[in-house]
């Protein structure tokens, strides 16, 4: 199996521990070693402290990690709508990839006006998506993407559950600013290939959710899914590189 590309970009990563379960190695160093092991060039991370109770401190930690390992990590700065987290502008820094929001953890609907500062910033947005969730169903992605057509919006996990994938694709089919990011414990290589067939290879973006999930599972899914080399390269590199201006 060939990757068909020279650089693998991972759109969805994390550093840090999470209260719901044990992550044996939540460190940036461990993640970097695993990235080297399986060929991930650069990973966009948010610190799980930032997704949780302290976005300011977690964002600071993520930026420090990115600075310590130039070119290996991009940062999704987390915006907590309750705390009105101060957001950084990119200032041309390639370390800052955009804004991460997690409507389910924050218990604030994706289409809630309290996220307005995120959309006004104009940076790419990676949002947790979860089919059937009152906070982050694909329908809400369609709503906010139509309101803000100039903001690239990555639908995290394509809604998480396979029984919602087909509907998620349909709901955002006419909204080209929405990209489908494919990490998740319920994703399969078969579904990854099917999503490429349904939405087009130019609308699907690779993510692993490491260290929350094992990076090898995500990378293996991309490498072993029944895709052409060109499709694999689009999903694993080109689409995200275009959004981030890294091409």
């Amino acid at each position: 199996m060939t990757l068909g590309m020279t650089r693998l970009l991972d759109a969805h990563g994390h550093v840090g521990s999470w209260p719901d379960f044990l992550i044996p190695d939540p460190s940036a160093e461990g993640l970097l070693a695993m990235m080297d092991r399986v060929g991930v060039t650069t990973m966009g991370i948010s610190h799980l402290l930032a997704v949780g109770p302290d976005a300011v401190a977690g964002n600071r930690l993520a930026m420090e990690i990115a600075r310590q390992h130039p070119g290996r990590f991009g940062v999704w700065q987390v915006y907590n709508p309750h705390h009105r987290t101060p957001l950084s502008s990119t200032d041309g820094s390639s370390d800052l990839w955009g804004v991460k929001i997690h409507p389910d953890v924050h218990r604030c609907r994706l289409d809630d006006p309290r996220y307005e500062p995120v959309w006004q910033l104009g940076q790419p947005v990676l949002a947790h998506g979860q089919t059937g969730s009152p906070w982050s169903d694909a329908e809400q992605f369609a709503t906010v993407a139509a309101r803000h057509p100039d903001v690239p919006l990555l639908m995290g996990h394509v809604g998480l559950f396979p029984d919602g994938f087909d509907r998620a694709v349909r709901l955002v089919a006419d909204l080209p600013n929405v990209l489908l990011e494919v990490c998740g414990s319920k994703m399969t290589g078969r579904w990854l290939a099917r999503l490429v067939g349904l939405a087009g290879a130019d609308r699907v973006v690779f993510g692993s959710d490491a260290c929350f999930l094992d990076l090898r599972i995500g990378v293996g899914r991309l490498l072993l899914a029944p895709l052409s080399d060109a499709e694999r390269a689009a999903v694993g590199h080109h689409n995200l590189a275009q959004v981030l201006g890294l091409a």
Binding site: F21, L22, D163, F212, R216, R221, A225
Partner: protein, 230 residues
């Protein structure tokens, strides 16, 4: 790369909620999986006996049948008599895994059993393992969110093995191997409902000695089926 790969958890047949391959062999060949323990979907999603009958029609030696057993249901143990492993679905088939009927049936059967972690609980499995100390159990689909509870189960129940296909938090498989040894860990996927691509790649990239990877890929399962110590 492991010398031999056996998938301990695979399905044959159609599922009612998706359009998935019904024959596991093309994907097994594509992914370098030499053989698989297979349960028929008719047995899971319709009638256990009909599913076991359909399973008996699979004659390819690469597909090792894992019939579904419903304790107390007459005839359900016909195919199980020659099976190397049987599948229990206490939630789907609404029976008490640690009730008197199940304990009597499984004690009489004398065949290792596989149970999906989502259909039971660590406490129930601990109870079962305590009652039937000779019964070998394979936990399927343990997931990644209950690693501590799974570890507690493995620590107190030496007759329990676990599949690794869904142990997918960062370094989770190595964490289990360090504590319980690779001989308690078994490669399996749950495909095609669950993913086989990621777990197959993980198997090739485990941060473990080659001998341990060989155990996880096939040796541990063979030991479980043949009655070797875990």
């Amino acid at each position: 790369m492991p010398r031999k790969v056996i998938d301990a958890h695979r399905l044959a047949g159609p599922v009612p909620f998706d359009d998935l391959p019904t024959d596991p062999r093309p994907e097994m060949e594509r992914l370098g999986i030499d053989s698989a323990l297979v349960t028929h979907t008719i047995g899971l999603y319709s009638d256990p006996q009909a599913g076991n009958d359909a399973l008996a029609q699979l004659t390819d030696p690469r597909l090792i049948p894992v019939p579904v057993v419903v304790p107390g249901v007459a005839g359900a143990d016909v195919h199980a008599a020659g099976a190397r492993l049987v599948r229990l679905c206490p939630q789907r088939h609404r029976f008490d895994l640690t009730g008197p009927i199940a304990l009597r049936t499984l004690g009489d059967l004398g065949v290792p059993v596989a149970v999906d972690f989502e259909e039971t609980s660590p406490a129930e499995l601990r109870t079962l393992a305590g009652h039937l100390t000779e019964l070998r159990m394979l936990v399927l689909n343990p997931g990644y969110r209950h690693l501590r509870a799974l570890a507690e189960l493995l620590a107190v129940a030496p007759n329990v093995w676990t599949e690794i296909g869904t142990v997918n938090t960062e370094g989770g498989v190595e964490w289990l191997a360090e504590r319980f040894g690779a001989q308690r860990l078994v490669f399996g996927t749950g495909a095609p409902v669950l993913d086989d691509c990621g777990p197959r790649f993980l198997l090739d990239h485990l941060d473990l000695p080659p001998a341990d990877v060989d155990l996880i890929a096939a040796g541990s399962l063979e030991g479980l089926l043949e009655g070797l110590p875990g």
